[in-house]
């Protein structure tokens, strides 16, 4: 079947089989920032935004995204770069494998909640695992970034 998506503001059409997941379709389309970390929807690495909301692309059938607006990190490079500066300042990125899904979730959080508490940040991002960083530096980076973006 032919699937039509709007990825990062661009219309894409691709022939898929009905059982394909959005993650695999996006990688086939060349959005290689989308990563897989597990087989059970538990790591958050594959997060992309569907209509601005974070979604696990590994457990979303591609057909469900028909006609929808998808954002991967390739589509928000400017914001991602601004955030990256704060992450890098803390040394919070290590292997970086979790970073695209994590960063998209941070950006989504900021749109939903301008003034989150620490608790709210941790809660919102709890499904985004990272085995390297220990999370503490990421929290520092998120808070500094949010502060700076307000100005």
């Amino acid at each position: 079947m032919i699937l039509t998506l709007n990825v990062n503001g661009r219309k894409r059409e691709i022939s898929i089989s009905p059982d394909e997941y959005l993650l695999d379709v996006l990688r086939k389309l060349g959005y290689l920032s989308v990563k897989r970390g597990c087989d059970t929807g538990s790591c958050g690495l594959c997060t992309v935004l569907v209509e601005e909301k974070p979604v696990l692309s590994c457990s979303t059938l591609a057909v469900r995204a028909q006609g929808k607006k998808i954002t991967t990190i390739e589509g928000c490079q400017e914001e991602a770069k601004r955030f990256a500066e704060f992450m890098a300042a803390e040394g919070a990125e290590q292997c970086g494998y979790c970073a695209p899904g994590f960063t998209l979730t941070v950006l989504a959080l900021m749109k939903e909640n301008e003034n989150p508490t620490d608790e709210e940040i941790l809660h919102y991002l709890n499904g985004n695992l990272c085995r390297c960083s220990g999370y503490i530096s990421q929290l520092r980076a998120i808070k500094n970034f949010m502060e700076a973006e307000k100005r």
Partner: protein, 749 residues
């Protein structure tokens, strides 16, 4: 110092966070690669009676199916260790015997996943199921032999005896232990268990292979050990080394798991057989259940002291499980000794260890590498002794730990003092929160090493470009820990140029100078020293070249990062020197290499303090406050060093509380997903993790630095276990301390 001891941003940081495609699978995505899959044994131990692949081969898209009859019969080890490896050569690519649930039975190559999977279902294997030894505590001298035939070993000293299921064994002693016990007024003896922790790095195992335009077998792999992989492949495939090239792109974590060549052999083999590019990507399940883990161990610690808390003797008996194959068997367990004995330098200590084969997944390298297991047991025992004597755990350590010495930089006692103060240790009482919850604190200390003394070396090559900038080529692998950045900082410091004038290249066995890879906490310390040597040589070579170009005596010249200046004030910029050196005038492409290996392995130290809150109704434990005071000499990049510590604490908390492993009686691992295997999430850490540094200057280290990568994981488990004991008066001596275990401990008394 312009660049070292500074919080410089990671040179690959922005690229990583913005999602640039630099990992193994990204490099081969959407290209025509055969998909390689492994048919795996459902049995813990079996002999393959027959394999029928005729129907499976008919599946459209299948390019090849290979069984034990099709592979070279060479025996080898996949452990990432310098040649000659201490680990026994007890493996074949595929064997007639399968020795654990998940041991590969057949290699399937097909044009896509679907055909590969379909074919796998159609392979008919007839097994003679054998009685297995799944419980490693029953393995020694069992009537069941995991390896009936003797493996090749490079060192007789490893204590190998396949007839006893012994992959390795050893005895180490310092001082008179028996005399120590006879002089003791208090003796306690307890047994501790550490689980086979799973690395759970976010990028699973994967590799891709192809023949390049020169007809060379090229392997792209997410590995910590590209040079060892090349050597392993050459041996296992019986194929010339010179025809193999291993490229390591960015890694999505490793933690020691990728110090074993888990999967490269399969794609390399398929590409050799078919001539076609191939790739393998382990699923999460394969990564968790069929690759390698931290060695699970049983450690019995006997400790004796006088009533004042002067420890007289420590005796450790270790039983360590290497699983079906002996990768890292002789080396991991010796760190139980190497990283605990020197801490209690004055105390007579003895350790007898047996590392046994069993029909379970393979034990391998994991951050901390045996020191973690040893630290849990010894530090727990010291804590238990302190309670028995009614002493403060910090006080008993002050009495017994090694003093600041001439030979060792840094001071573990200073770490304790700083930590006590910062943590307000003396006022941390056991607090009943009034809602069924109790808070209490515990502490522990540890050390590790920096590189493997007298064995491993690191190399670095610097190339001077026509444009006046440099390429730094290294064979060590950045798996996230930041060595690419830290080594660039050092090069910039010596070459006196901005960091962006240095291009980093790592790692490609064709181009990079030899380096054993990233393990044993060697990146900063060992390869760092090599970088310094290479850069110092480079400055000399540039001066020599400038001396010719300027027609001046070399002694008259001075190097600055921008130019070379003569006493009379004439100067040439680096750019001018560079372009003229490589050109007809100079005919001198300058490239310098440094290689370095240490006579010693200077230890980083850590003292850690943990406060936990235990729900006494359910046994659920949360870490509410954690402090580590680390002495890693002078950190090259304090920001990256801090995050190393934070990440290690998180992994250590997982080891202590949630990362549970169950192997059922049939040898099947039950926690084969991230749903069941619980690594810490954001909420398990909370914001209260603090890291402090106790600075020292390591004379043999680059710019005074020691290592930091591994030592960070050792203390959380013993510190948390003791805090839980203080809160509940119940002691769980087997990791992880799940709420269930603690509950039964509390309520079965």
């Amino acid at each position: 110092m312009r660049f070292v001891n500074k919080e410089m941003k990671k040179i690959d940081g922005i690229g990583l966070i913005t999602g640039k495609p630099f990992y193994t699978e990204d490099l081969v995505a959407n290209q025509e690669y055969l998909i390689v899959k492994l048919l795996r044994s459902p049995h813990a131990y079996a002999k393959i009676k027959s394999i029928d692949i005729t129907i499976a081969l008919k599946v459209p898209g299948v390019e090849g199916i290979y069984t034990y009859k099709d592979v070279p019969q060479t025996m080898f080890t996949l452990a990432g260790q310098s040649y000659p490896e201490p680990s026994p050569y007890d493996r074949k690519i595929l064997d007639e015997y399968v020795r654990y649930v998940g041991d590969p039975v057949a290699i399937v190559a097909a044009v896509d996943e679907e055909s590969a999977e379909k074919a796998m279902k159609l392979i008919k294997v007839e097994y003679e199921v054998l009685e297995a030894v799944v419980d490693y505590e029953k393995a020694l001298d069992s009537h069941i032999l995991v390896h009936k035939d003797r493996a090749h070993i490079n060192y007789d000293t490893i204590g190998y005896d396949n007839k006893r299921n012994l992959a390795s064994s050893y005895l180490q002693e310092k001082g008179d232990v028996e005399k120590g016990f006879s002089e003791s007024e208090v003796i306690i003896e307890n047994t501790y268990y550490t689980q086979p922790q799973i690395h759970a790095m976010m990028e699973t195992y994967r590799s891709a292979s192809y023949f390049d335009v020169y007809g060379r077998l090229t392997v792209i792999s997410s590995t910590q050990i590209p040079f060892h992989v090349r050597r392993h492949l050459a041996r296992a495939l019986d194929y010339p080394s010179s025809k193999i090239r291993v490229i390591k792109p960015k890694l999505g974590g490793g933690f020691g798991g990728k110090q074993t060549s888990v999967c490269e052999i399969y794609t390399a083999f398929v590409t050799l057989k078919t001539g076609k590019p191939s790739k393998i990507i382990y699923t999460r399940k394969e990564t968790q259940a069929y690759s390698n883990t931290r060695h699970g161990m049983r450690l019995t610690v006997k400790i004796g002291s006088d009533r004042e808390g002067n420890i007289k003797a420590i005796d450790i008996k270790v039983l360590s499980n290497t699983g079906a194959y002996g990768e890292h068997a002789p080396t991991v367990t010796s760190l139980v000794v190497y990283k605990t004995f020197p801490l209690y330098e004055k105390v007579p200590m003895r350790c007898k260890a047996d590392i046994v084969y069993s029909n379970t997944m393979v034990g391998g390298a994991f951050r901390g590498y045996g020191a973690t297991q040893g630290t849990f047991a010894v530090e727990s025992a010291v804590n238990e002794l302190a309670h028995k004597l009614g002493m403060d755990p910090t006080e008993i350590r002050m009495k017994n730990l090694v003093d600041q010495s001439e030979t060792v930089s840094g001071d573990i006692k200073k770490c304790i003092q700083i930590g006590k103060e910062a943590f307000d240790w003396k006022n941390r009482k056991v607090v009943d929160m009034g809602n069924g919850k109790v808070r209490a604190s515990g502490m522990a200390v540890t050390m590790q090493g920096s590189g493997i003394a007298g064995l491993d070396t690191g190399s670095a090559t610097v190339k001077f470009h026509d444009s006046g900038d440099f390429t730094l080529m290294i064979g060590v692998t950045d798996m996230g820990q930041g060595c690419d950045t830290v080594l660039t900082q050092m090069a910039a410091e010596i070459l006196e140029v901005p960091m962006d004038k240095i291009v980093l290249n790592a790692a490609d066995t064709d181009v990079s100078p030899y380096d054993p890879g990233a393990y044993a906490s060697s990146g900063t310390y060992v390869t760092g020293n090599a970088v310094i040597i290479a850069c110092e040589k480079m400055k000399k070579e540039i001066l020599a070249s400038a001396s010719k170009l300027m027609n001046k005596d070399i002694d008259e010249l001075q190097y600055t990062g921008e130019y070379v200046e003569a006493k009379d004030g004439t100067r040439l910029t680096l750019k001018e020197i560079a372009i003229r050196s490589v050109g007809f005038e100079g005919k001198n492409q300058i490239t310098t290499t440094g290689t370095w290996g240490g006579e010693n392995s200077p230890p980083p130290f850590i003292a850690s303090f943990a406060e936990v809150e235990v729900d006494t109704l359910t046994g659920e434990t949360n870490v509410v406050d954690f402090l580590s005071v680390a002495d890693c000499g002078t950190p090259i990049n304090p920001a990256l060093a801090r995050v190393q510590v934070e990440g290690g604490i998180a992994q250590g908390i997982g080891l202590a509380l949630t990362e549970e492993i169950t192997i059922d009686k049939n040898g099947k691992l039950l926690q084969d997903t991230l749903m069941q295997y619980k690594i810490p999430s954001r909420k398990d850490l909370g914001p209260k993790v603090e890291v402090l540094f106790s600075y020292s200057n390591e004379p043999t280290g680059p710019f005074g630095a020691k290592s930091i990568g591994e030592v960070v994981i050792n203390t959380p488990a013993p510190a948390i276990a003791d805090a839980i004991y203080k809160a509940t008066k119940s002691r769980v001596r087997s990791l992880p301390i799940t709420s269930e275990k603690l509950f039964w401990e509390m309520y079965s008394k």
